[in-house]
Every structure is written in C-alpha cells, then in structure tokens.
C-alpha cells in the first residue's frame, strides 16, 4: 500500500516566515533579501542566495543556488519565480525530485502550470536514486500531472546505462503505484515466431467509465498489427472488447485477426443478457501471436450469447453457444457440438414445511456438421427432506430424469428418436463427533465425521447419442453424486453405497490445521451403462479415495491425495506434495505424482530462492520417471505417455537493482510434434515505468506456486 500522499491542503491563512542576513524593502509592497535567504509558507520552503518577495502578489523571485521543497517534492535551480500560495511559476536549469514514486531528473526549465501540473522542457525522468541514474528517459516536453498521477512525454528516448534502448514519438507513464489502469508505455521484445516487435500504446480516457486503448505494434517478420481494447462500465452494463488485426501477414500472406469480447447488461432487476465471444482468423493464430502459455494452449474458442430472467424462486436462461476449433493437424480435436439454442428453466424452494423441491427443464438443439445431431428435452424434478442437526444429518431424496431425443444422422440422412425416464432414490446421512485435543502442542478440536450415501437407480438401456456426457474423474465431489457420468446423456444404473470418514483438527481460530478423508463406494449391482465404445467396468468396490492436508507450521504445509484400486491392489492415481515458505520470496515445492491410466510417474520440484544480495533464482523441473504401467493388465491408453526425462522445465534468474530488475527465464514445454521447445524470456523492468522484452511473469506465477514478485511488498504475489 503506498503511503497516503499528504493531502495538498493549502492554508490561505498561513503566515510567511522570512529570514536572511540582510533585508530591505517596503512592508506593504516588496522586500529584498540577501545572503542565505529562506522563505517558508505552509508546505513550501524556498532557499536562495538572493530573493525578492512581493507581498501583495505573494510572489517570490529568487536566484543563486535556489532550492525549494513543496508537499514533499524537491527542486533546485539557478533562477526561480514562484507564487507561494497558488503554486505557479517557473525555475530555470532545475533538478527535481518527486515524492510520489521517488522520481527525479534535471531539465532546462520547469514551468509550474498549476498546483499539480508541471511542464518540464528538455528534461530527464527516472525513478533511480542518485545523481547519475542507471536508466532515465529524455524528452523535449514532459507533463507531470501529480493530481492524476500521469506523466506524458512527446518524442522520448529511454537510456539504460547511458545507452539509448527505446525511442518513441509519444509516451505516458504512471507517477505513482496507485494508478495502474490506463497508463501504457511502449514495450519492446522478441518472439521466436515473430522476431523483434515494438508496441506503442495510445490511451484515450473517453469518460470516467469508458476508455479505449490502441496498440499499434510493429512485428519484424509479419508487419504492422493494430490492437484495440475498448472498456466500458456503467450502472447497468459493463464489457470489454479486444480486437487485433494484422493485414497481409508477410509469412502467411493472409489477414490475421482475433476478437475477444465480453458484455453483460442488466435490463431490469430480473432480466439480464450478455455475451462472451472469442474468434481467431486461423488455426495457428494462438501459437503465432500468444504471449503466454494460457493463451497459446487455448485451442477451443467459446462463443456464447445468453439471456437470463430470474424470478424469486425460479430462473430461466436462453443460450446460444458454440466453439471455434483451432485445429492441430498433429493432434486433431473433434469439434464440439453447438448448442443453438439451449433453453433452461430452474426452479426450487427450500424448507416448504421441511421439504426442498427443485426442478430443471432443459431443451437443447445440438448441431454438428458431421456427427449425429438433433434436439434433446430433459425434465429433472427432485424432492428431498433434509434433516440437518449439529450432530447428524439425514437427507432422503427422490428425483426423476426424463429425456427425449429426436435426432438425424447427416451422413446417412436417417432420423431416430429415443426417450427414457429414470427415477433415482438417494439417502445421504452422517454423524459429527468432536473432542478437545491438541496437535503439535496447540489446542485443537478434532472431529470425526462418518458418512453414508446410498443411491438406487434402475438400469435403462441408453443408446441415445452422447452430446455432453463423459465420465467424471473420481473425486470426493463425484463419489457423492448420484450419477457416475457428467451431463444428461448417460444416467448410470446404481445400487450402491458410498462410505466415507473425515477427520479434521480445527484450531481455536476455526482454521483447519489437519484434514484427513477416506471414501469408498460399494456396488451391489454391476454397472451396465457406459459411453459408446467403452466396456463398463465390473467389480463390486470402487477405488478407495484418500486425501490429507496438514499445515505443520506457518511455513511448512503438506498435502496428499490417493486413489487406490482395490481390485488390482495398487495405487491407480496419487500425488503428494510439500511446500516450504520460510520467508517472503523464499519458497520450495516438492511433488510426486502417479497416474497409472496415463502411464505417468512424475517428480515436480519448483522454487524461488535468493542467491546473493541482489540475485534471485527461480526454477521448476517436472521430471517423468520410467514406469511399467503400460504393460499392466487392463491398461487402456488415454493420452500419449510422456517419455522418461524432463518433460517441463523452467529456469530463471532475476537481478534486482534499486530501480530496475533484469529477468532472464528459459522455459521448456512439450509441443504437438512430441519434441519440446525452449522459449527464452529476456525482460528489463524499469521500476515504475515500463517492462521491456517478453514478460515471463505469467509463466513464473503458474509454474512456481507461492512465487512472489521481488520488487513488490511481500504480501502482493503478482
């Protein structure tokens, strides 16, 4: 949190204190002061060898090593004229130091146009300490507006160690950390796909709640790209639209563009609508133009338009959505179904003399160019009688899932229709025991929470097409849901009992110090419902699920999850991790992970550690160990198993000088071709001004849990 800036309150009643070694003048008009002159008024103190003070105009003219400090900002110069109360005037051949973000510089002249606005002619600006700063920007005209915390400069050159590294016709930059949005400075960098690139943003503050930012960018190997980001925020609607357009990409000879637009608007207290649309000109757009891993791996671009009406106990949504697939020839993706439209009505009341009832009605038209497509209507009413007491809970619930399909197969031109009605009964119950005990010598309340969850759903043959169903990962959330599948196209037959035991150690503050959980599901009848082309698994018992999280101390915490296959008597999935954070900017994480279905056994080490007084090391190594899972009985390949060796890696060094940070980060990630590419990030961050080069922050933040930015106070982690 930046220290609160002293409010620039001016006290018109403040007296002026004057002192020097010699003084002559007329009390009502002006006084002339000689040798070691000091004039103080409220927040302003001015020193000089010689000064003349016009009392009525409250104006001072001073010369001979002039020094002034005002509201924390400090100036020196050889000649100054200044209206003490109004705060206007000028100083020639000045140096300045501003309290806002410790910025300083020198110039030919500074004109104090108003209390918060200064025009600096032929001046420099830097946030480095000391007379010869490591980096500074030099510009013929610079406006510093400490009221809006914005600095703008005309033709500007940025020097680093006296070497010009960036020139720009226009530039705006923040004058304090407080204001981040709206300030955009030129950035420069290189990418392996586009070569050198320079971007000079222009920011238009159209209105307090509307702004437009243009990002003209020159990309060496592609040409000129124009990006635009329009944002608007109002009482009833808000949204943001980003567009990037590159006419005639020299490499592909095509126009390249992308759109990302979100909007939501409240038409009335009940009705609202909005969209979330992404689109790209071609399949390789993400790889060619993305700046970080999150966007470069995003191959399915959602386009979703929704309208919502909320009653007091019901909610209706009409929605149209589909995905643009950025196809990857090496690892093709099947195109998801479009939902054009999907109408959903959800209603429900709680505690209607003890009963909760809820119902969902959904009508969807699934469309696909070549797969079976058509309409699906689903009705899913349910009623339950939850009894929740401090020491136990019992929740019987009856629900019905009725669905009907009318579909056509575009290739064979045949139509078909299916329908099913499936009742489900479930009974959830649990007890909660407690006792006072201690852990690591500190008082704690330990709980013991046994839970039983019985589900009975009859078997119905379901040959209807699968639009949005799949088998969910076995997790604590899934093991306590009635349907083994996600979505409405497959309802698993069930006569099963899930048993679970959870024990927690709760500190006096209410925080969970330790939590251990075990769960397993017992099938009293075989599972017969399956996805097309999948043989339903037999077996009377599900895998055992175990999980534990323990905070040993404020610095050290561990976590483990386990999925033990009772039929094969081995762990089918499991991970264990330890995280040690002794101090800010020091973190070490160690994780071991086993995933038999994916034939994966991995060790993941990541950390951030200071290496010397100004050097910080960051690193992550994801190493795949050899395993024999593939030749185990019943192994079915889901993904291509990673080869033994380093599959993901990151290594970086950060050097923190007092006003700039240099980062070099190498990141190795597997690519579709099976090989791995290493991308290199070089970044020079001039504190409080700009980041030059490719930005590794997102990679550091996602690869190293607990990473902290080295020039931010320790509690802000990115």
């Amino acid at each position: 949190q930046t220290p609160a800036k002293p409010a620039k309150v001016k006290d018109p009643e403040a007296e002026t204190r004057v002192s020097s070694e010699q003084m002559t003048g007329r009390p009502d008009r002006e006084i002339i002061l000689e040798r070691d002159v000091e004039i103080t008024r409220g927040e302003t103190t001015l020193n000089a060898d010689h000064a003349t003070y016009w009392i009525a105009e409250d104006e001072v003219e001073a010369s001979g090593n002039v020094r002034m400090s005002r509201f924390g900002d400090r100036y020196t110069g050889d000649k100054m004229r200044f209206k003490m109360d109004e705060g206007t005037g000028y100083v020639t051949n000045p140096t300045y130091h501003m309290q806002g973000n410790n910025a300083q510089g020198r110039a030919e002249r500074i004109d104090f146009e108003a209390e918060d606005r200064a025009l600096i002619t032929q001046g420099t600006y830097s946030t480095c300490e000391g007379p010869d700063p490591d980096w500074y920007l030099k510009s013929n005209t610079m406006h510093l507006d400490t009221g809006k915390d914005v600095g703008t400069a005309g033709t500007t050159v940025i020097y680093f160690k006296d070497v010009p590294i960036l020139g720009t016709p226009y530039m705006s930059f923040p004058l304090s950390d407080a204001r981040k949005s709206g300030i955009l400075v030129p950035t420069m960098g290189t990418t392996s796909t586009g070569g050198f690139e320079l971007m000079v943003p222009y920011y238009f503050n159209i209105a307090p709640n509307r702004d437009l930012t243009l990002f003209p960018k020159y990309i060496a190997r592609r040409g000129f790209q124009l990006g635009a980001d329009a944002r608007y925020l109002d009482r009833d609607y808000a949204g943001e639209t980003k567009i990037e357009f590159l006419p005639n990409d020299t490499q592909t000879k095509t126009n390249r563009y992308s759109i990302a637009s979100t909007h939501n608007q409240r038409l009335s207290p009940q009705a609202s609508f909005g969209w979330n649309v992404k689109a790209a000109s071609d399949d390789d757009y993400a790889i060619d133009f993305s700046r970080n891993l999150a966007t470069s791996t995003e191959r399915l671009l959602l386009r979703d338009l929704y309208f919502n009406y909320a009653g007091n106990f019901w909610n209706a949504t009409a929605r149209a959505s589909n995905y643009q697939v950025l196809q990857d020839v090496l690892a093709p993706i099947t195109r998801p179904y479009d939902r054009l439209p999907q109408l959903t009505l959800q209603a429900g009341r709680q505690d209607v003399n003890g009963f909760d009832w809820a119902t969902t009605v959904e009508a969807t038209r699934f469309w696909h160019p070549d797969l079976v497509r058509g309409e699906r209507y689903v009705l899913n009413p349910s009623i339950s009688y939850p009894i929740v007491r401090p020491s136990y809970f019992i929740t019987p619930k009856v629900s019905l899932n009725a669905a009907s399909y009318s579909v056509e197969n575009p290739l064979t031109r045949t139509n078909a229709s299916y329908s099913r009605t499936l009742p489900t009964f479930s009974l959830d119950s649990g007890l909660i025991f407690e006792r006072e005990t201690s852990i690591f010598g500190e008082a704690a309340t330990q709980t013991l929470e046994p839970r039983l969850f019985y589900v009975k759903t009859p078997y119905r043959n379901q040959a209807n097409p699968v639009f949005d169903s799949a088998e969910a990962d076995l997790s604590f959330a899934q093991i306590f849901s009635e349907n083994r599948f996600i979505g409405n196209d497959r309802i698993s037959n069930a006569n099963q009992l899930t048993t679970a035991l959870v024990s927690r150690y709760i500190e006096p503050s209410g925080a969970e110090r330790l939590r251990v959980a075990l769960a397993q599901r017992f099938y009293f009848e075989d599972q017969k419902v399956a996805l097309p082309g999948v043989v339903p698994q037999g077996g009377s018992k599900s895998d055992i699920l175990g999980s534990g999280t323990l905070r040993i101390s404020n610095a050290l915490s561990t976590e483990g999850n386990l999925q033990y296959s009772s039929t094969q008597k081995t762990v089918s999935r499991g991970n264990a991790s330890v995280s040690w954070r002794p101090e800010p900017k020091k973190v070490l994480n160690l994780a071991y992970r086993v995933d038999v279905p994916n034939a994966l056994r991995q060790v993941d080490v990541s950390g951030q550690w200071p290496l010397g007084d100004r050097w910080y090391g960051v690193g992550r190594m994801n190493y795949s160990l050899s395993n024999d899972y593939a030749n185990r009985p019943g192994y079915k390949q889901i993904n291509v198993p990673p080869k033994q060796g380093l599959s993901e890696g990151l290594l970086g060094l950060e050097y923190k000088a007092d006003c700039w940070i240099f980062r070099v980060v190498a990141q190795r990630i597997p690519t579709a071709t099976g090989k791995a590419t290493t991308s290199l990030f070089f970044q020079l961050e001039l504190s409080g001004l700009t980041k030059l080069g490719s930005d590794p922050m997102e990679a550091l933040r996602t690869n190293i849990p607990g990473y902290q930015v080295i020039n931010k106070p320790s509690n802000i982690n990115y």
């Binding site: 791996t297 929740v388 994916n598 579709a672």
Partner: protein, 154 residues
C-alpha cells in the same frame, strides 16, 4: 476415546444473536451460507445491516483456473481450480469481531479437448463442492468468534 456428538454448529457463546450476510443475492455461496445458519437455529438472519448485531462481509470471492500440467503434446492435461474468499465479521458499531480472513481451496480437474461440454459441467460440480466446503469452514470461523473480553483475555 473422548469423542461425543457435536452439540452446536455455531457454539452457544457467540457475542451476537443476529447476523446480516452482506453477500449479493446472485451469489450461491451466500444463499447456502444463509440456509445453514438458518438451519442451525442458533443465529437469526436479519434482512438489513441495521437490524443485525453482527455483519458478515464477503469482501472477495475469486474463482480461477490455472494450468497444472501439460501432456506430451504440449496440450493441457490438468487444470487446478482455485476458489478463494475473504470474509470479515464486524458488529453494528463497526468493531471488528473477526479480522479479514482468506480461505482458499483448490481441486484438480483433468482436461480433454474432446469432452469440452462435459468438462464445463464437471468444473461447475467441483466449484459447487468447494462452495459447500467453504460454507462449512466459514461456519467454523464464525463459531470461533469469542466475546470481546474473552478474546483479549486469552
């Protein structure tokens, strides 16, 4: 071994008898929290801050999806879903009863581009599961609020 059935959900020495949940109507977390408090019968829910002796502020509710691991073709194999809330409880004279506390939960979810519609629904299921877990943890934090004198005495 000393275990006995839990007597109360929120404890019986809370320094306030009624609470206002300052959470927007649209937040499902808010409605589940109200339902459990109402179900416990140990704390009355008021419709406006003025009537309540204590106010629970949900100062931050953040859901975030971060890549956990890539498969050997460089495509996302697993995401981590984070659900972070920051709560604070103050009495109607703005005296802080529970300082600003962050509760953060996460769940892993495997990802497969060929089942994107199903994964949308699975993600929603995991967030609902984390939400119920958060509600229980918030209830535990409220139950841990001691009357002012006892808290300072400790």
């Amino acid at each position: 071994c000393g275990f006995k059935l839990r007597g109360t959900i929120l404890g019986n020495d809370l320094p306030f008898k009624s609470i206002y949940i300052a959470v927007p109507e649209t937040s499902t977390l808010g409605s589940e929290l109200r339902r459990y408090i109402r179900g416990s019968g140990e704390l009355e829910i008021k419709q406006s801050p003025e009537e309540a002796e204590a106010i629970l502020d949900l100062t931050n509710e953040l859901r975030e999806k971060v890549i956990l691991s890539l498969n050997s073709q460089g495509r996302v194999r697993e995401y981590v879903l984070y659900y972070r809330v920051t709560i604070r409880v103050r009495d109607n004279k703005n005296v802080e009863l529970l300082p600003s506390t962050q509760i953060s939960l996460k769940r892993d979810i495997s990802y497969n581009e060929n089942q994107v519609l199903a994964k949308e629904a699975e993600e929603a299921m995991l967030y609902r599961d984390m939400q119920s877990d958060l509600v229980q943890q918030i209830l535990r934090r409220i139950a841990a609020i001691k009357p002012a004198d006892q808290a300072t005495a400790k």
